[in-house]
């Protein structure tokens, strides 16, 4: 389901693995589901903005699952599909975790040598464009600038993907949807999304959920008791007050879930928070100590 570009080299996309079969757990915070559905219907590419670990990827998985089911239900017999979970319907989610060495070739495809012949292998983006489905470019600002320019004709009214090396121009499948994500506060002011890219997408902003919703998420995902989940959410909220005041990123919901999972396995609560939260968000000794004091203020 998920592709690291370097792992993908020389491999064709496993379509079946890219279809989400089990409904992901997702609690809506605002109107993001309605917005995404509307964007998908209008074939408008979507940009998800938000801090790390706030649920962007989970949201896309959830939407891929629910859009697949709704589009199939429209086309086929709804009851049959819901009962049988028809995997043959082509609406996969293809995730590419972008990094600073991700090239246009990694996304589009490449020629490989095979038995003294050159063989073209589609990259994940080309695959999604041809076959239909959601192509999710995670942390797009990490990718090289030439990569982001590549998606420009694909993300406006043309919906075209040029494959320079083959001299081809592919029109996107009817069910193709491009989704990108980025974290505006990530790393440094030097890394930012170009306006020419940004202004081709409908932007849905994410943030960490409120304490009540977050504690429900933690309780569900980690299986801890409600009170523990509530305390962890409270720790999350307090540590996030330090964001941009010595700590680049607030503690993510994902880390809070990890802490919950450790507690569930029997690790002592403060120790679990120490390894899952404190050590993960900072190396600065002062902040380290201060966060530990916050944790010991909240947990008994």
């Amino acid at each position: 389901m998920s592709f690291q570009s370097h792992e993908n080299r020389g491999l064709s996309v496993d379509y079946k693995a890219a279809v989400i079969k089990k409904k992901p757990y997702y609690l809506p915070v605002k109107d993001e589901i309605e917005l995404f559905e509307a964007a998908a219907k209008s074939k408008i590419p979507v940009l998800l903005k938000g801090p790390t670990g706030c649920g962007k990827t989970r949201f896309v998985e959830y939407m891929a699952y629910s859009l697949l089911r709704s589009s199939v239900a429209d086309k086929h017999n709804k009851t049959d599909f819901l009962q049988n979970g028809d995997d043959s319907v082509k609406r996969p989610l293809i995730t590419v975790a972008c990094h600073e060495d991700l090239t246009a070739t990694d996304l589009v495809g490449r020629y490989l040598l095979k038995d003294e012949q050159t063989v073209w292998i589609d990259g994940p983006l080309t695959f999604a464009v041809k076959e239909g489905g959601i192509c999710y470019l995670d942390e797009i600002v990490e990718a090289r600038k030439d990569t982001t320019v590549l998606i420009h004709p694909l993300s406006d009214y043309r919906r075209l993907l040029p494959i320079e090396k083959k001299g081809e121009l592919i029109e996107a499948h009817e069910d193709f949807l491009l989704v990108i994500s980025y974290n505006p506060g990530y790393q440094s002011v030097l890394k930012d999304l170009k306006h020419s890219t940004r202004q081709r997408f409908l932007s849905i902003e994410f943030n960490y959920p409120g304490r009540e919703i977050e504690s429900k998420i933690i309780a569900h995902e980690s299986g801890v008791e409600e009170q523990v989940a509530h305390d962890l959410a409270k720790i999350g909220q307090k540590v996030r007050n330090l964001r941009d005041h010595g700590i680049h990123e607030g503690v993510s919901t994902r880390l809070l879930i990890y802490a919950g999972q450790l507690v569930k396995t029997g690790i002592e609560k403060k120790r679990a928070c120490q390894v899952a939260i404190t050590a993960s968000v900072t190396d600065d000794q002062i902040y380290h100590r201060a966060i530990e004091e916050v944790i010991s203020t909240i947990l008994v």
Binding site: D106, E116, N241, G246, Y287, A290, T297, I298, L299, V300
Partner: protein, 789 residues
């Protein structure tokens, strides 16, 4: 006895011509105040010192009786033994030790002191100067050892952690201010500390417990409690809300009509005052509920000064203020206990220790006893049995009024309602004594003297609690930092020696930058182009890889040919473009000393103007290169008054504001480089970059009023540079930067810079610009070469 001591002293005084009788007389009197068994050693201390300086000996001896009384009798001998041990090594060390004993006793016990003394003696035997600094509590080693031994927790030590802790809990940038820095003495209402909305006022040190962890926890409890004022919305005080459901307080007849006709704040205030203070009988009145919030807002009372206004309504504002903050402190503590389970024990421990230090009810007049009972009820939820026995009726009256504020979801309006109810009750209690809260301002000027004691400070606190921090945005932003300084003579750091105040340069004129850009348009164009050319180098082609973006056709053909020929083929036929990251963070530190006011070379420009121009050149160039950079300036007058001027922070854009700040740079005072470098290093440590650079722009050698061991140091010849205090400290500060992986480069326009910079840093780390006017053009080139990958 006195005669015997005198004769013994006389025998031991060798230097008879120097005020012998005077010393003997004074020493005899002092020694007679010391316990008999301690006297011989105390006398030996005195004599040892007297052989060098009788004045110092008398001064030192005169401290002993008082100091000895501070020590438990069974520990006194040990103390005198230690003092003598030190004095035998060197009398100045002994003198320094005795002079700082009061401070030492606050930090460690006599037993703990012994270890510290032994280590100090070893140091003093090797280097007397180091020993004096050690026993005078100036050296870092001395303080480090003491900190290890001590159970006392000082605010200064833990302030960085507590500040972050306060930020996390409150979500606000709050300053931790020692109570001693306030210009008034306060007997705090209740058992907690207080905040003015910007500062959390905390004790300078806590040593209530024998365990330093408990003392730290007490600080933590104080901070958590003060942050509670923000979290539990003390600031969201609403007068209309108070009167909801307060049907028992009734307005006099006709007030409602009068209010409608005369919709003025004064009328309402006047009327409310009457109601609250009971000056006017309320029989048959309309209920205050009819005064809805809506009516109040419409009538222009929305800007009613919240808590201050509330306290103003009472005739006895001392009492109202005390009641309000005792109750509110109790409410916050109660809510903290239920919301933050982890800190419950710390809060209870703090309350217990603080209550134990409060006066006993039986010693107090009736009204004050009632307030004291209220303090107990609010902070602990109950009173001691003894209190109930003596004041059962009074406590029965108070307790039900306190209950609502201790409920889990209590609000500040509950506190206000309880204040009104208790005010009416307690005000009637006879035997009026001085109020529980006494705020005594230390008169600073005539205006302050004219203000009434309570309101000068109290109004300020309340005003700020009501959100003055938002309205005070224009105020100059200042932060204070302390740094150690290297004393080459003792070969150790002097702890917390320099006080740096961070100030934001305020400027309103962008013309300097605009004029510079306009004047040097062509030079800037060339520099920008030069910097732009560096960027394309950032992608590097790597050929002959086994995996990559593109196939190299020559290599691919070679591979096919090899296979055809039966040779093992070379699989490295790919090419890739790799990012060659330029991840540089540069900090420019500008010497803003008074000497930069002088004119440069034959030019009409001053050094500071040239430095400013250089900054403009650099900023314009760096905007193209996209390196992260910051600009700061420094100057100062003495170790406690070092100013660190913020011109551009790392995350700030090169905006009009920054340009204005560059334009506003002006020469200030002296050049205390070490502290400024250390503060810059702290700034750079917080930036994430592969390469971190500190570039110091100066026009002369480091100098400050107390930045030398010798007054003549400033004009010392080159041969004496090695022994220069400030040069050694600057050298050490740059070494510290190097230890943190920060590369430093010193650029000076002082033609004699070679004399001292060769001591301060390596040849490769300093550049002398012989013609100052060429600095602007040279700086970008120097930077480019220095940061070349």
């Amino acid at each position: 006895m006195g005669r015997k001591i005198t004769s013994e002293l006389k025998q031991n005084i060798k230097n008879r011509h120097y005020r012998e009788d005077d010393f003997v007389q004074k020493a005899s009197i002092i020694l007679s105040k010391i316990r008999h068994e301690l006297r011989p050693k105390a006398k030996e201390i005195g004599l040892k010192m007297a052989s060098f300086s009788k004045d110092r000996a008398v001064a030192c001896l005169s401290r002993l009786p008082g100091l000895i009384t501070q020590i438990r009798p069974d520990h006194q001998q040990l103390f005198v033994d230690n003092a003598l041990k030190i004095t035998r090594v060197n009398w100045k060390c002994g003198d320094a030790f005795i002079r700082h004993l009061s401070e030492l006793f606050e930090r460690v016990s006599v037993f703990e002191l012994e270890n510290w003394v032994d280590q100090g003696i070893k140091i003093a035997e090797e280097n007397v100067e180091s020993g004096i600094a050690y026993f005078g509590l100036r050296s870092a080693t001395s303080n480090r050892i003491l900190n290890k031994l001590s159970h006392v927790v000082r605010l200064a030590q833990i302030a960085p952690v507590l500040k972050v802790y306060a930020r996390a809990l409150s979500g606000k940038e709050l300053h931790l201010t020692p109570l001693s820095q306030r210009n008034f003495y306060a007997i705090r209402p209740g058992v907690f500390s207080y905040t003015d909305g910007k500062n959390l006022f905390l004790p300078d040190r806590i040593f209530s417990f024998d365990d330093s962890l408990y003392n730290f926890s007490a600080y933590k409890a104080y901070v958590a409690h003060l942050c509670g004022y923000f979290e539990f919305r003390t600031r969201d005080f609403s007068i209309p809300k108070i009167f909801q459901d307060m049907s028992q307080i009734k307005a006099p007849k006709g007030v409602e009509c009068e209010f409608k006709e005369n919709q003025s704040c004064f009328k309402f205030q006047f009327w409310t005052r009457k109601v609250l203070t009971g000056d006017n009988p309320c029989d048959g009145c309309e209920t205050i509920q009819k005064m809805t919030a809506e009516t109040l807002i419409k009538s222009g009372l929305s800007g009613f000064p919240l808590i201050r206004g509330f306290v103003d309504l009472f005739s006895d504002q001392y009492l109202a203020h005390t009641l309000f903050f005792v109750l509110e402190g109790g409410r916050i503590a109660s809510r903290l206990r239920s919301v933050y389970k982890g800190i419950k024990a710390d809060i209870d421990r703090l309350i217990d220790i603080n209550l134990s230090e409060r006066p006993r009810l039986s010693n107090l007049p009736l009204r004050q006893a009632a307030i004291e009972a209220l303090v107990h009820l609010c902070s602990r939820g109950c009173v001691e049995e003894e209190m109930t026995r003596h004041y059962s009726q009074m406590i029965q009256e108070i307790a039900p009024r306190v209950e609502p504020i201790l409920a889990p979801n209590s609000t500040v309006e509950d506190t206000a309602r309880a204040t009104i109810k208790l005010y009416n009750l307690i005000e009637q209690i006879p035997n009026l004594m001085p109020p529980a809260v006494v705020l005594v301002p230390l008169p600073e000027n005539e205006d302050q003297k004219r203000q009434t004691p309570l309101f000068s400070e109290n109004r300020e606190i309340l005003k700020q609690l009501q959100g003055a921090e938002e309205t005070d945005e224009a105020a100059e932003k200042q932060d204070v930092f302390y740094y150690d300084e290297w004393d080459y003579k003792i070969q150790d750091y002097l702890t917390r020696w320099c006080r740096i105040t961070e100030k934001r340069v305020v400027g309103d004129d962008v013309r300097f930058v605009e004029d510079t850009v306009k004047k040097h348009q062509r030079d800037l164009y060339l520099i920008r182009k030069q910097f732009e050319r560096i960027r394309p180098e950032l992608l590097e082609k790597r050929k002959g890889l086994e995996d990559g973006e593109e196939i190299l056709f020559d290599k691919a053909i070679e591979r096919i040919l090899d296979r055809k020929a039966g040779r093992p083929p070379n699989e490295a036929i790919y090419m890739s473009r790799d990012n060659k990251n330029r991840d540089v963070a540069a900090l420019f530190l500008l010497d803003m000393s008074l000497s930069t006011r002088r004119q440069a070379d034959q030019s009409s420009k001053t050094i500071i103007d040239i430095e400013k121009e250089a900054l403009v050149f650099m900023a314009e160039a760096l905007e193209k290169l996209k390196d992260t950079y910051a600009i700061f300036g420094f100057s100062g007058f003495g170790r406690k008054n070092i100013d660190f001027f913020v011109i551009k922070e790392f995350l700030e854009r090169y905006s009009i504001t920054v340009k204005r700040r560059i334009g506003a740079i002006e020469p200030q005072y002296n050049t205390r480089m070490g502290a400024a470098i250390r503060h810059s290093v702290e700034k750079l440590k917080r930036v994430e970059a592969q390469t971190k650079i500190l570039i110091l722009l100066s026009d002369g050698r480091p100098y400050d009023v107390d930045y030398s061991s010798d007054r003549r140091e400033r004009s010392a010849p080159a041969s004496l540079i090695e022994q220069s205090y400030c040069v050694n400290d600057t050298m050490m500060a740059l070494k510290e930067a190097g230890n943190w992986g920060i590369k430093s480069l010193c650029i000076t326009v002082d033609p004699l810079g070679d004399e001292y910079f060769k001591k301060i840093c390596n040849y490769s780390n300093y550049i002398i610009i012989k013609q100052a006017t060429s600095l602007p053009g040279e700086l970008p080139k120097i930077y480019q070469n220095f940061t070349m990958i």
